[in-house]
């Protein structure tokens, strides 16, 4: 561990994962707005997970599974790509991925912003529960599956079965959608949606205009079981 005036550097060639996470979790709990830089992450799993407080963490390289899992209030930036389940069940704060994100990015997230500068793989935003996700590139198939609430913004294209079995999450896609999943439909972009989108694009530093996007949402036909809709499943 090396400390400079403005940040503490944690080297994962010299420290175990447990030691790194313990250090970060204690600093987050101290509510001191400290800054950390993690070098040589070597694709480690579960890095910077369970942070609970204002903290700035920059990871210089790519990460494995579940980076920044269950994040609360902290700002985590990955200067590389992220493995599966990045920012899973995130509660608040900001997680930024400078590269690409693997499958399940932002899964079940309750809040905060997940900002993916590259592409996201399949099941991005699966079962999301209030998180905002902005993907500057494309997203894979089955994204926003059973998504409950929050916003998924995609500047590129979406793969097959977007928003399958969607609940109340809002999906905004600028590019093409290969296919929509069960009960997901194109919806009118009303002024309030333009406002939401404008704010999210600004927060994510995305170079796009809200008017270029199409909104998708739930047709709400599958909300209560109806035998006449059995073929939809």
């Amino acid at each position: 561990m090396t400390t400079t005036l403005d940040k503490t550097v944690l080297d994962m060639t010299a420290m175990e994962l447990r030691e790194v996470n313990t250090t970060l979790q204690a600093a987050a709990k101290a509510q001191a707005n400290a800054a950390f830089e993690i070098i040589n992450p070597r694709g480690s799993h579960a890095m910077a997970c369970g942070l609970d407080g204002p903290l700035d963490v920059t990871i210089k390289g790519s990460t494995g599974y579940y980076c920044a899992g269950m994040n609360k209030d902290a700002t985590v930036t990955v200067e590389g790509s992220a493995g599966p389940g990045v920012a899973e069940n995130m509660m608040s704060g900001v997680v930024t991925i400078e590269g690409d994100a693997s499958q399940y990015a932002g899964a079940t997230g309750h809040g905060g912003l997940l900002n993916i500068k590259g592409n996201a793989s399949s099941r991005c935003g699966i079962s999301m529960k209030g998180i905002d996700i902005v993907v500057h590139g494309n997203i894979g198939h089955m994204s926003a599956f059973m998504a409950q609430s929050g916003n998924l913004v995609v500047l590129g294209d979406a793969g097959d079965a977007l928003g399958d079995s969607l609940y109340e999450a809002r999906l905004f896609v600028r590019g093409n959608v290969k296919s929509l999943g069960a009960d997901c439909i194109k919806k009118e972009m009303r002024p309030e949606h333009i406002e939401i989108l404008k704010e999210l694009l600004e927060k994510a530093g995305a170079d796009a205009k809200p008017e270029e996007f199409t909104r998708y949402g739930s047709a709400r036909k599958l909300y209560n079981f109806n035998i006449d809709h059995a073929d939809e499943y």
Binding site: R18, Y66, M91, Y223
Partner: protein
């Protein structure tokens, strides 16, 4: 007038009245039957086993004088803070939403008075439950309804649910009738809509991924909490081996008599294995890995009394969990509500439409008026009494077999009344030294 002799009217065994009524119901409604509870069909069970008791070769312990320990330590493999229970009987996971807040409170009160743990369910952790449960196991389910790191940290153990005995391979559905504002709020969904609980976890697939998921949970909770993995009784040998590989501290194994809040009757009755058939393969997997007693095994699904507990322990379990029996102890299906069960088209003992939210006993409901019928303090004391009786019964049997700890019960203490039970439990058929599949015969 002469009467021609006639054959007595004969009902078909294949097309019984019960079968025909289901055909008519399906034809009328166009949808399969959904209900709560576990398998109702007769399957080989603990009743098909007997204890041999002490005799010339074994000394019994004095019933009211000599100690027979019942304590259990769960989570000794990796967790910094294993759970110590006074008795080998825990309360299985049941959701707030499926159950009322009063019922969850009563479960917590009863379990705490008896010195054991209770378990959350799909839908998250309620204050009633946390507040009244000295030891609370927090379920980590595919839906992740209500999941958050604060509750993870204030749990005493974490149970990752892969499956359950009533429906191995199935998810769940809490129907809109029970989705009040509070239930909906905890699940981040609108009031009144059906709430699907997924059958697979959203961010891992298979035991290799699960190992990493467990690493993440341990990192978030400072490696303090025991991690349980709950599996349905599908392929117990391999499932237990893979759960060990993934890093479980404790494995909860739920046979097909284990209950659910609601699922298709066809699923409950036709998928999974009886509890009795699951235990020996599970124990064998632990023994083959050298992990028996290091990874604790909790067995559930149809546990009703101290004899069932003792038999499960004798077959190699470390503890058992009860769900349906705990609800009955609280007052579920009590004949005192018979007139109201009749209005619902059923009878006490058979009521299983828990998903409809009209439970006369006020347990499987979110209806404010019905909920008031359950006094959580009174119901909690009933559960405490029942748990105490089960424990005393288990001790009685263990002492009769000469054991000073219920964990010293062993398969050699048992015999089987039927060929099926002998084969499943791998204990001799009564009067023989043989069971089907025994090597050397």
């Amino acid at each position: 007038m002469d009467k021609t002799p006639q054959t007595e009217p004969r009902q078909s065994w294949t097309f019984s009245n019960s079968v025909n009524s289901e055909i008519r119901r399906a034809a009328d409604t166009g949808i399969y039957d959904i209900r709560g509870g576990g398998a109702k069909r007769r399957v080989p069970h603990f009743d098909d086993l007997l204890f041999l008791g002490a005799s010339m070769s074994r000394y019994p312990l004095e019933g009211y004088r000599e100690k027979c320990d019942t304590s259990v330590l769960l989570g000794t493999r990796f967790a910094k803070k294993p759970i110590e229970l006074k008795i080998p009987i825990t309360i299985a996971g049941m959701s707030f939403g499926a159950l009322s807040g009063h019922a969850k409170e009563a479960l917590g009160r009863g379990a705490t008075m008896a010195g054991t743990s209770t378990t959350t369910g799909d839908g998250g952790m309620t204050e009633e439950e946390r507040g009244h449960s000295e030891k609370l196991v927090y379920q980590y389910l595919p839906s992740r309804y209500g999941m958050n790191p604060d509750d993870l940290r204030r749990a005493d153990a974490i149970e990752i649910v892969v499956g359950q005995g009533a429906k191995p391979g199935g998810g769940g559905m809490l129907l809109g009738q029970k989705i009040t504002e509070r239930v909906a709020g905890m699940r981040n969904l609108p009031v009144g809509i059906d709430q699907r609980s997924a059958c697979r976890h959203p961010d891992w697939t298979g035991p290799d991924d699960l190992e990493i998921k467990i690493l993440e949970i341990r990192e978030i909770t400072n490696w303090e909490k025991p991690i349980y993995i709950k599996i349905g009784g599908a392929r117990p040998y391999y499932d237990v081996a893979l759960a060990c590989k993934a890093g479980a501290d404790v494995i909860v194994l739920d046979g097909m008599q284990g209950g659910t809040a609601a699922t298709q009757d066809v699923f409950i009755e036709h998928v999974g294995q009886p509890t009795l058939a699951c235990i020996r393969p599970a124990v064998q997997a632990l023994q083959d890995l050298g992990l028996h007693r290091e990874v604790q095994l909790v067995v559930s699904g149809g546990i009703r009394n101290g004899a069932d507990v003792a038999k499960a322990l004798a077959l190699g379990a470390d503890a058992v969990a009860i769900g349906t029996a705990a609800l009955v102890a609280l007052g579920d299906n009590d004949p005192k509500w018979e007139a109201e069960y009749n209005k619902l088209g059923t009878t006490a003992g058979a009521y299983d439409d828990w998903h409809e939210g009209r439970d006369p006993a006020g347990i499987t409901t979110q209806d404010v008026e019905l909920m008031k019928r359950l006094d959580p303090e009174v119901a909690g004391r009933k559960l405490r009494n029942y748990l105490n009786v089960m424990t005393l019964e288990c001790q009685t049997l263990a002492r009769a077999c000469g054991h000073n700890h219920v964990h010293n019960l062993e398969p050699e203490d048992l015999c089987a009344l039927t060929m099926e039970a002998a084969a499943m439990a791998q204990v001799p058929l009564a009067g023989t030294n043989w069971y089907p599949g025994k090597p050397g015969f």
